[in-house]
């Protein structure tokens, strides 16, 4: 089923093109990773696909309908940002209740707590959770309404290796029944978690396929990073910057 599609997508900020003609189709379910260095255009692409930004040229569709801010199907989509804002002192239970209420889900509070494995810690302030626990909470809250499409912007960038593995496993589970589109700089994580990977640099899709196909398609490549370097002619550092 077609979930997302773009055709000739261009977004310009002044004279600079953040997206320079992106053609992309995402069918669901599954996990799609969008990879690229900082400034490649990933966030801009997400903004367009989430209905927050109108393209300068080209078209974008979600569930077969043109994307507009006013008609965007927000009840069918969940979003986890790279840095989630939490009001000072807000408890785990209050956070869960807020997003359950926003999405109009009866009994959503306990569903969020259950899925985040935080039942019994409702009164704990969110800022006291570990990075992995907080990310579980944010993902559970963003998916409390069972969206068909979930966006995650660098969901594991601030996590320790153990939490990264746990969140990666959770994302794979999530992608069994719905479409998950995530950005990451971590090539190993992308190999582990994603069914499909899209390489983006300088506002263009450079390559697109399963991690195995992308590696196989490049002579001498042994890892996804080798394939990325071949296609994008660049490496990505630990902080996401092009090297």
């Amino acid at each position: 089923m077609e979930v997302l599609r773009t055709a000739g997508l261009v977004v310009r900020y002044g004279n600079k093109a953040a997206l320079a003609g992106v053609d992309l189709t995402v069918d669901g379910p599954g996990v799609v990773g969008v990879l690229g260095p900082n400034g490649a255009g990933k966030t801009t692409l997400f903004d367009v696909l989430q209905g927050a930004l109108a393209p300068s040229e080209g078209e974008a569709f979600v569930f077969g309908r043109p994307i507009t801010r006013s008609t965007y199907p927000r009840r069918r989509v969940g979003v986890v940002l790279q840095r989630e804002f939490v009001m000072e002192g807000m408890s785990v239970g209050e956070y869960a209740e807020l997003f359950a209420a926003i999405h109009g889900v009866d009994g959503g509070r306990s569903r969020v707590l259950d899925r985040a494995a935080l039942t019994g810690r409702e009164r704990t302030p969110v800022e006291r959770l570990s990075g992995g626990e907080a990310q579980r909470l944010f993902i559970a809250a963003a998916t409390v309404h069972e969206p068909e499409l979930v966006f995650l912007d660098e969901p594991t960038s601030q996590l320790d290796p153990e939490s990264k593995l746990a969140i990666g496993a959770a994302l794979r589970d999530l992608g069994r029944a719905r479409t998950v589109v995530m950005t990451t700089h971590d090539m190993r994580e992308a190999e582990r978690v994603c069914d499909r990977v899209v390489f983006v640099t300088e506002g263009l899709v450079r390559a697109d396929g399963t991690p195995e196909d992308l590696v196989r398609g490049v002579p001498g490549a042994r890892t996804l990073e080798d394939a990325f370097v071949f296609h994008a002619k660049t490496r990505i550092g630990d902080r996401g910057d092009a090297l």
Binding site: A52, F85, I102
Partner: protein, 339 residues
């Protein structure tokens, strides 16, 4: 030592190179100095004694007598109750009323103004008797109390909406909410109602304490009217804060702007002293400020005992107009993301 001076230099630069913040840091003390010079250009606010005339206007013969004394500020006051309210709060020094049984006038003065009473008796040549009226010990506190309530609502509105919206935008909370089915109007309304509830609770605490400890005269009617004006004031000042958040991008600059605006309004809105010593053109402008309208309305209700709809409609309509204008402009101009 080198590290110390490096830290000093970086901290100074941190305060100054933030664009508008730097400008405000340098300009704000000068602006305040200018305001003080303007407000007190013609002396301190209570230098001229206020004499109220309760006779459906100031009769020409009374005006003629008092015109010889430019150190007096003569105002017509429609009701005796209101005039006594102003005397009790020490916002006026004397009230002239027609003598009940005979020709002539009665001057009611506060105990501190007996000398003024004697002077008035002399000026009217025996056609005026003087009565000394006891006033509450906390009378002047009553006078500035509406200013305290207004400044509370002002800062709560500017910070509660202006600063909060900039913070929410900077931290991408608004961007996050925009990805959900939550409507913007629901979010904005929730912010306003939350702020109004907090300010109403603050107001109740202040009024209750003042009524018990400072003899502030409060009735059920004045409390209800007070609550109405506080809610209107919160609406206006959250609207102004929202409007500021359209132009200001960072939290640091917003704090500076709110401090600057708050200081100016405290000086110009009769919160703590009358500003009729201002040049008349500037005084006319300050009367249009929402903070001036709110202070005036609350002072009329709480201190002067005003309950007539005809007297309170004008500030209510003025505040409502400010609220509509600021919210209309904000909803049009506000950027929900930080691009």
């Amino acid at each position: 030592m080198r590290v110390f001076w490096l830290l000093v230099r970086l901290r100074v630069l941190d305060s100054l190179r933030g664009g508008l913040s730097g400008v405000l840091f340098v300009a704000m003390p000068l602006v305040i100095l200018g305001l003080v010079a303007l407000v007190f250009a013609n002396g301190q606010p209570f230098e001229r004694r206020t004499v109220l005339v309760v006779a459906g206007g100031v009769p020409p013969d009374v005006a003629a007598v008092l015109a010889a004394y430019p150190e007096l500020r003569v105002e017509a006051e429609p009701s005796e109750a209101r005039a006594m309210g102003r005397l009790r709060s020490r916002a006026a020094s004397a009230a002239l009323l027609p003598a009940p049984a005979a020709r002539g006038w009665v001057a009611r003065v506060t105990p501190n103004e007996r000398l003024l009473g004697a002077g008035l008796g002399h000026a009217f040549g025996g056609e005026l008797s003087v009565e000394v009226t006891e006033v509450p010990r906390w009378g002047y506190v009553h006078y500035i109390f509406p200013g305290l309530l207004t400044s509370t609502a002002l800062l709560a509105g500017l910070f509660g909406m202006g600063y909060a919206m900039v913070r929410y935008r900077q931290s991408l909370f608004l961007k996050k909410l925009a990805t959900t089915p939550l409507s913007r109007s629901t979010f904005v309304l929730a912010q306003v109602v939350a702020r109004a509830l907090l300010v109403l609770a603050q107001t109740a605490l202040l009024v209750g304490t003042s009524a018990v400890a400072l003899d502030l005269p409060v009735t059920a009617t004045s409390a209800a009217l007070l609550a109405g004006f506080v809610v209107l004031g919160v609406l206006v000042f959250t609207g102004v804060g929202f409007l500021l958040a359209c132009a200001v991008k960072t939290e640091g600059v917003m704090v500076d702007v709110i401090n600057a605006l708050g200081t100016a309004l405290v000086f110009l809105s009769e919160m703590f002293f009358p500003n009729d010593t201002l040049p008349s053109s500037l005084a006319a402008v300050t009367r249009l400020l929402p903070s001036t309208m709110m202070v005036g309305a609350i002072r009329a209700v709480l201190v002067f005992g005003e309950t007539r709809p005809s007297a309170l409609l004008q500030p209510a309509v003025g505040l409502a107009a400010w609220a509509v204008a600021t919210y209309a402009a904000s909803l049009y101009a506000f950027r929900w993301d930080r691009r």
